[in-house]
């Protein structure tokens, strides 16, 4: 599945000042990418991701999905929404059914699937997010904890079996354990289910660890679009944009500043430990 944005600009209708939420965006997203989308609040991330499945139509420019221009009048958006799943920010606010089962089944039922197929998908989706099907299917989503509600909401999107999964700040407000589970889920979906994933997040650790491409936005424009290693080596610029560096990168850079010649393009804890101890051993030998 290929998603292309060509010269996409967007101004919200009710924006009296007429500021461009997106300015002349050009982007290509292909299969098997794990994209981290970062930028300060109001930089246009949410607007951009909603554009990718036709929830917002651009003021100008075109969004092309598998060669079909979805900005044209007569396109079936249902087909696109099946292929591109979008998990909104605070997705638990969209729960509405009496049972967890009913809520997760909402998407598949809208696709017109048979009830057996729906059940299979609900089962699979709940297991994916780590909720036991038998235990949770008949419970009311409103009596669950915040973290469990979010899992149900994410399952609701997974049950549509999208090829591309977009998540808008999915870890906001989760506890460390919940964040860890989410990271594992995304890793699993990417590695084992072959999904393309677009993750919007403010947590640079997540972005650095998971993604193989990082897009940095500011004021409605794409300022960087590159590998995590390259993007996070632009330390000054990243700070200027009001963003954090991943903690590991931060430490490696500081060590570097103190004269320890460690590599700074490392994003996993184990590798960082390895690198630092290697370097320390090396320097103690001299």
């Amino acid at each position: 599945m290929l998603i292309e944005l060509k010269n996409v600009s967007h101004i919200y209708d009710d924006d009296l000042k007429g500021t461009e939420a997106l300015k002349d965006i050009n982007l290509r997203i292909s299969d098997q990418e794990f994209i981290g989308l970062v930028g300060h609040t109001g930089s246009g991330k949410s607007t951009l991701v909603q554009m990718l499945n036709g929830l917002i139509k651009p003021s100008s420019g075109s969004v092309i999905i598998d060669g079909v221009n979805i900005t044209g009048e007569k396109t079936s958006l249902l087909g696109i929404r099946r292929k591109i799943g979008l998990v909104f920010q605070y997705p638990e606010h969209q729960l509405f059914e009496e049972t967890v089962y009913g809520d997760v089944a909402f998407g598949p039922r809208n696709l017109g699937l048979s009830e057996e197929e729906v059940e299979l998908r609900v089962k699979e989706a709940l297991e994916l997010v780590g909720l036991d099907y038998e235990e949770f299917k008949d419970r009311s989503p409103f009596n669950l904890s915040g973290g469990q509600q979010r899992k149900v909401a994410i399952a609701g999107v997974l049950a549509m079996k999208p090829e591309v999964l977009i998540l808008d700040e999915p870890s906001a407000g989760l506890d460390p354990q919940g964040r860890q589970q989410l990271i594992s889920l995304l890793e699993y979906l990417y590695n084992n289910k072959g999904m393309t994933i677009i993750l919007v997040s403010h947590r640079m650790e997540e972005i650095a660890r998971l993604s193989n491409r990082v897009i940095v936005m500011s004021e409605g424009e794409i300022v960087f679009d590159d590998s995590p290693a390259r993007v996070f080596s632009e330390v000054e610029k990243i700070r200027e944009l009001g963003l954090d560096l991943p903690e590991i990168t931060e430490i490696l850079w500081r060590l570097n500043g103190k004269g320890l010649r460690v590599r700074t393009d490392i994003f996993s804890l184990a590798e960082a430990v390895e690198e630092i101890s290697r370097e320390l051993r090396g320097s103690s030998k001299c």
């Binding site: 929830l55 929404r81 606010h93 998407g107 999107v157």
Partner: protein, 263 residues
């Protein structure tokens, strides 16, 4: 989508009319509208229309905006006109076709009523166009405060109105978000017959109500923790003050009302 429904139609401008005291504006509006019902000739309407024009030009609200504001009542206006024209009897028969006829009396009453409705709408919309919702509630609270003696909870009513006004845009935004989230799961809000459409609204309405209750809860808690305990003894940040222009406007309005009522 839903966000561009504007609530209240306040248009911020720096004009004499905007800067008037909301209480005076409300009183003048009530006076003028009452007087409107005493007008019994088109020349009276002419004078009323003239004063409306003066207010509009003083308020710096574009005329087009006011005309647009009439669109929602177009149906009512047309209906009134048609009913009167075809069904009010009396006077010279102007046009006849079978049993349908248009008579002079009907034509006259029809246009008379329509003029009244249009002037009524324009005048009240001038109030809401030039007075922000908050000023309006403030004004209403003051005007109702004499009724506190007989047990009307004026401050509470005003607080309720203020809160409602404050939260309408928030709820619309929320509705927009939920709607999009459900559309991302393949929900369809735009097609099907009425029954189907109403049923399709459940995934929107349930989360919306839940969020409204949650917000109400949070707000109550926040107000309580800041020691809100009703209107008793509360002072305000901006005191309303009646100025010279307000008295002048009130004087002119009184004069006009006399003219409308006695001539």
């Amino acid at each position: 989508m839903l966000r561009n429904i504007t609530i209240g139609q306040y248009m911020a401008r720096d004009s004499i009319i905007h800067n008037m005291d909301p209480r005076i504006k409300i009183v003048i509006t009530i006076m003028m509208i009452t007087a409107l019902f005493f007008i019994d000739s088109f020349s009276g309407y002419g004078l009323f229309f003239l004063s409306v024009l003066v207010i509009i030009s003083l308020s710096r609200i574009p005329l087009l905006r006011i005309i647009k504001g009439l669109r929602p009542v177009l149906f009512l206006v047309m209906l009134t006109l048609i009913l009167h024209v075809f069904f009010t009897r009396g006077g010279e028969v102007i046009w006849q076709w079978g049993f349908i006829s248009i008579e002079a009396e009907g034509l006259y009453t029809g246009f008379f009523m329509v003029t009244r409705i249009v002037l009524l709408i324009i005048f009240t919309s001038l109030l809401t166009l030039t007075t922000s919702p908050l000023e309006l509630t403030d004004g209403i609270e003051y005007l109702l405060s004499p009724l506190k003696r007989v047990g009307v909870p004026a401050s509470e009513l005003a607080m309720m109105m203020t809160i409602a006004l404050r939260f309408i845009p928030t709820l619309l935004e929320e509705a927009d978000k939920i709607m999009k989230a459900q559309m991302a799961r393949g929900a369809d809000f735009e097609s099907g017959n009425i029954v189907k459409r109403a049923r399709n609204l459940i995934p929107l309405l349930v989360p919306l109500f839940i969020s409204a209750f949650r917000r109400a809860d949070d707000l109550a808690l926040a107000m309580e923790s800041r020691c809100y305990h009703g209107g008793e003894g509360r002072t305000r940040l901006y005191e309303l003050k009646v100025k010279g222009t307000d008295f002048a406007a009130l004087g002119v309005a009184l004069l006009l009302c006399m003219v409308f009522i006695y001539f």
